[in-house]
């Protein structure tokens, strides 16, 4: 029988869970745990400079690897600082466990120093939260936390640990449970066979079909199945911002992504389709535009692990609850065996129409002889990294440009805060990726607004030698806010101009990194090439881009999917 303190049990449970890295920040209520961490070397701790960044780091790691990330913070402000990060992970269904110190159980409710009701505060933004009531429960709670975080529709789980649960001199028997069983939590393991059959029949009969895939395909590790099904059928596919990489972007069946800033051809094809096969997406408002005008002629098959995502905003004709990989496997078999074959003439006519749409816009943008366009920067990066880099982004115009012009052929490489839209996400997420992918190129495409929301992490990058490349698309304004003000507020730029920008080069240097400024168009490619050759350095690349550029296409507010602005003057 092995006797351990609560703190040692916690760290031992993390080891037994196979956790390699945790990201965190110490403080009073977590000190017993930090001491236990110090006395071992299997679980490595990364000390960030702000707790929010620890969560985004864990998040970046989780998105790149598909494994749950782990965060450790103290009570009170340490815990509340994680909330934005947790909400970010929650909106994008990212598996994660956040371990929070808490004041001793004897003090809870007395407004003790650094006391916050973290269970209450985090409740709306977690998949679940758990609080430790006896040290002996710790191994079971940790096991349960990871199980809940990583299964079904993944999400963040918070564990609240009062300080007296980790007291060093109180020891208990350590038993790490082999299995977790919860009578009230049983995610579906396969889809309904009858519904799947019905869906395949509809696919075979469709004349204008489209596959609409989302982040669930990546989270459900079903990109191979999706690719196989789409290629077998020969139908067009579009995906959401979160689904980027679930199907190779360079493939001709791929129409790009859809929605507010999606491609013209994706949105047109969706609107005119007669059948939508939705795989692991959730008909989010940034996709559908006005729901009452959404795809009037389309019947909808919706595959999702989360029944609550089905018929939430758009009614599904054929709902299929189940893991996407298993459901797609069954569909592939049925499609292959099907006596009915797709109507070749109808599908050919549909493709002809789609190709016309594709040729009509083709993600064109105006170039200028002397001003660097943000789109050009992303295209250059794509070319110079052979489309193989991990790209994280913050939120705003640069995020959209990165998603539009970097063509991802693989999953898990496009890492952004799609649901919550969290500025300050990009740099710590890139750090989380780089730590476990030291030999891969990791770019953080950002803007001068977003990067300043977690700029302090440049210090963490120095401490742990994380040579990410920060690509700052500097337009000296909060570009997306300004774009909306241009379009909806007669160009009254309320608080969207950022004066007094720091000298980012000196700032990077102050933290011990390199800085490169690019403000001439002819320098763009050569200098980016130089930057990418600096393998061992974090380089802050401050690129002065067109201050007046807008992101297009852009759906017209409250319109249907096909109502779009294609440039500042062109509306369809």
């Amino acid at each position: 029988m092995e006797l351990l303190s609560g703190a040692d049990m916690l760290i031992r449970s993390l080891q037994d869970e196979g956790i390699e890295y945790i990201y965190g920040y110490p403080g009073g209520a977590a000190l017993h745990i930090y001491d236990a961490l110090f006395r071992q070397d299997k679980v490595k701790h990364i000390l960030v400079r702000h707790e929010q960044a620890a969560v985004h780091m864990a998040d970046g790691y989780a998105r790149a690897t598909g494994l749950p990330g782990t965060v450790l913070v103290t009570s009170g402000p340490g815990a509340t600082n994680t909330i934005t990060g947790i909400a970010t992970a929650f909106m994008d269904s990212i598996p994660m466990v956040v371990l929070c110190g808490q004041v001793a159980s004897t003090l809870i409710g007395e407004d003790a120093f650094q006391e916050t009701d973290m269970i209450g505060v985090s409740r709306p933004v977690v998949k679940h939260n758990l609080s430790v009531r006896h040290p002996e429960e710790i191994p079971g709670i940790i096991r349960k936390a990871y199980y809940i975080a990583a299964t079904g529709r993944p999400g963040p789980v918070v564990v609240d640990i009062p300080k007296d649960m980790t007291t060093p001199n109180e020891r208990y028997e350590y038993v790490f449970p082999k299995k977790v069983k919860l009578r009230s939590y049983n995610p579906a393991i396969r889809g309904h066979a009858g519904q799947i059959k019905k869906a395949v029949d509809m696919l075979m009969a469709a004349k204008r079909p489209i596959i609409y895939a989302g982040g669930g395909v990546i989270l459900g590790k079903a990109t191979n199945q999706l690719t196989e099904l789409v290629r077998t059928l020969g139908y067009p596919i579009t995906n959401t911002l979160m689904g980027i990489g679930c199907y190779p972007a360079s493939d001709k069946q791929h129409l790009g992504w859809l929605g507010m800033h999606g491609t013209y051809e994706s949105n047109m094809a969706m609107h005119h389709s007669d059948l939508i096969l939705c795989v692991g997406a959730r008909f989010d408002d940034r996709v559908t535009n006005a729901t009452e005008k959404f795809c009037p002629g389309a019947r909808i098959v919706h595959i999702d692990i989360d029944p609550a995502s089905i018929s939430k905003t758009i009614d599904a004709d054929v709902p299929i609850v189940g893991p996407v990989d298993a459901v797609l496997n069954e569909m592939i078999t049925l499609v292959r065996e099907s006596k009915e074959k797709p109507d070749a003439d109808a599908i050919a006519a549909w493709w002809k129409q789609i190709e016309e749409w594709r040729a009509f816009h083709g993600m064109r943008y105006e170039t200028s002889p002397d001003v660097i366009k943000p789109q050009e920067v992303v295209e250059a990066l794509w070319k110079l990294t052979n489309g193989e880099a991990f790209v994280t982004s913050d939120v705003g115009q640069h995020q959209m440009f990165a998603a539009q012009y970097y063509k991802f052929d693989k999953p898990n490489r496009w890492i952004n805060s799609g649901g919550l839209g969290t500025m300050g996400f990009g740099l710590p997420a890139a750090m989380g990726v780089k730590l476990t992918h030291p030999d891969d190129e990791v770019l953080c495409i950002t803007g001068e607004g977003s990067i300043q929301m977690n700029i302090q992490e440049l210090s963490t990058c120095k401490q742990y030698n994380l040579p990410v490349k920060i690509i700052n698309l500097n337009n000296q304004a909060l570009g997306m806010v300004k774009q909306w003000q241009d379009m909806n507020y007669e160009s009254r730029h309320a608080e969207s101009y950022m004066g007094s920008l720091p000298d980012f080069i000196k700032l990077a240097e102050a933290y011990g990194h390199k800085g490169v400024r690019i403000d001439k168009k002819e320098d763009l490619e050569p200098k980016l090439k130089e930057v990418l050759a600096m393998k061992d350095d974090l380089v802050f690349v401050d690129i002065y881009v067109d201050r007046f550029e807008h992101v297009y296409p852009m759906q017209v507010a409250r319109g249907s999917m096909k109502d779009m602005w294609l440039s500042k003057t062109e509306r369809v």
Partner: protein, 163 residues
């Protein structure tokens, strides 16, 4: 449309707040809510009455089911069911009012459970309309205090909500 959703919930601290939080987070109505442990002490039985379109009710049941501590639930209004609510009412009862109130209580099959020289305390059980009807019948001017338990419900016949 009004619905009665009956939930078996893990009898754990914080479980109830998760249910209540869900309703406010997602902008759903709670009209009444009752909760108490069952014969199996690890489980609580919770009954919530709510209103909403079919889409909203579907979302409520799905979102409730997603809560880890929700073991099972049923929308009782989908089948035939029995619903009951308990009400305790303090009524001003002096002079000729006393006989009149007593008669009304009898008609509604209630009981006077406490008496003073000027006050009757009446206990009444039934569905919510019956309780409303009683208040109307005695007239609000005589009502000193009303305590209602909220609705509890159970399906008719063989159907049971259990593990």
């Amino acid at each position: 449309m009004r619905r009665i959703i009956s939930v078996l919930l893990e009898n754990e601290p914080g479980a109830l707040s998760r249910v209540v939080g869900l309703f406010s987070q997602r902008n759903y109505n709670i009209e009444t809510l009752t909760v108490a442990p069952t014969e199996d002490e690890t489980l609580s039985r919770l009954t919530v009455t709510t209103t909403g379109s079919d889409r909203v009710i579907e979302q409520i049941t799905k979102q409730l089911n997603k809560l880890i501590e929700v073991v099972k639930l049923v929308d009782l209004t989908e089948g035939s069911h029995i619903e009951r609510e308990l009400m305790l009412v303090k009524l001003k009862a002096t002079g000729s009012q006393r006989a009149e109130i007593k008669r009304t209580v009898d008609i509604f099959r209630g009981q006077i459970v406490d008496v003073t020289s000027s006050v009757y305390t009446v206990q009444l059980a039934g569905n919510s309309e019956k309780l409303d009807g009683f208040i109307q019948a005695v007239g609000t001017s005589g009502v000193l205090e009303v305590v209602r338990s909220g609705v509890s419900g159970i399906a008719r016949g063989e159907k049971v909500l259990s593990l």
